[in-house]
Symmetry: C2
Subunit: 260 residues, 2 copies
């Protein structure tokens, strides 16, 4: 009841969630925070090295048949799988990030999944960080904010692959009514970024806030959204308004505060 | 001198132009109008069936080495090659449209090309044509206009591939200073569309205006642009302002007038 009062969205309790790229860092943060909150099916091409909740499917995201099987009975997909390197070569992001994401969306539609949260990236808009704007845009007093209504400006070919993934989400939402949220993740690190690393301070996403943000992607109701995924840093050039308003995101951490 | 007065841009005379997808319909319209205007190198996987200006390279757009060779000495690339079917399957647009376009941009950078005009499509924004807006948006009195500042909403997987191609253009412009224009082409037909085909009336691009528009993409100076490619139709839901202001586009045809 309290939850419903705080977030004016339909709330669900435990959901069946497929987490692709479960062995990566974002997956680690999510599972640290939410292992007991949902029924998990984990998928990664690397087998698990530690204890994990739920089932684990060892498969590459481009293996259509296996991805389709893994989608059965799933309510929500958190799609993180892909080459995470900002310097990844084109051939890899074409296959793992673009083609892999299309495989996931197509399988989600076939299986009747309700929502897909896609792990997009700050690199989808990396070239807004121009020589003219930096380092000013990283500073607390600077009021330059990206809010998701701006056109993409990828900073590298990895970023291009994330823009392509977002546009797949837009298409599968418009065509089939699938709920889709593209989460442009900042810099996820377990500890606070160095105080003199200005960009890192502005882009920080703590593990705790990351888990909470994806929990909101699982529980909230939405149509199609682009949100930024950072903590509530004093320095920021990404707006958190859509994440707060639509998803009910309430970040707890701030790169400028070490007393959390 | 007169040209410089009309268009406040640096004007060049004949340019060395590489036209990919030269054997397709857009290529046909361009060559009908501009065969004698520039020095042409044509590229298509289908060999020529008729007389053609300049050189002809028979190659698939995904053949990197051949595309790189074809780029030598080129000032401007008009990149039309790709699967043109709005119902094209994902595997085809992934290879021919997305990967092929990255091959073209990469080769253009390596060869020191100045400008690339990319044949994007109305399908990159096809899902703005919602049930609520149509058919009103196709009508003369309706003032709904897309102008290129809106976020993409692809209408099919072909449209997704065009969004990906546009974002490649954005990246190669931002990263390397390449001039890039994405031309969202409407419905190119040699004759006027049927008077009772409302969407076709609104989307029409005549062969003459198509050739002129790509001539402006070759001659004008620009940084990064998204323009719509239609004739000056009474019915329209695409703004021509950027094409007119930046490129000096002056369309002659109008789907509502048969007396041109």
């Amino acid at each position: 009841m309290v939850l419903i009062a705080r977030y004016p969205h339909t709330e669900r309790m435990a959901q069946s969630v497929l987490l692709t790229g479960a062995a990566g860092r974002v997956g680690e943060a999510i599972l640290e925070g939410l292992a007991d909150e949902h029924e998990w099916r984990l998928l990664d091409r690397d087998p698990p090295t530690e204890d994990h909740p739920g089932e684990f499917v060892v498969a590459d995201i481009t293996e259509g048949d296996t991805v389709r099987e893994a989608m059965e009975g799933i309510d929500v997909v958190l799609h993180l799988a892909g080459d995470p390197r900002k310097t990844a070569p084109w051939e890899s992001v074409l296959t793992n990030n673009i083609d892999g994401t299309q495989t996931v969306f197509e399988a989600a539609i076939d299986a009747g999944v309700e929502k897909v949260a896609f792990a997009s990236s700050n690199h989808a808009v990396g070239h807004y960080e121009t020589d003219e704007r930096t380092p000013e845009m990283y500073r607390t007093h600077d009021d330059y904010l990206l809010d998701g209504t701006e056109l993409p400006r990828p900073g590298n070919l990895y970023g291009v692959s994330k823009v392509a993934g977002e546009s797949l989400g837009r298409y599968y939402h418009d065509e089939y009514g699938l709920s889709v949220v593209n989460v442009r993740i900042g810099n996820l690190t377990e500890g606070h970024p160095p105080i003199d690393y200005e960009r890192g301070q502005a882009m920080w996403l703590s593990y705790r806030d990351c888990a909470h943000l994806f929990d909101r992607c699982i529980r909230a109701d939405y149509d199609y959204e682009i949100v930024y995924g950072i903590s509530d840093n004093d320095r920021k050039y990404y707006s958190l308004e859509r994440a707060k308003d639509v998803l009910g995101y309430e970040p707890q951490d701030n790169s400028a505060r070490h007393d959390d």
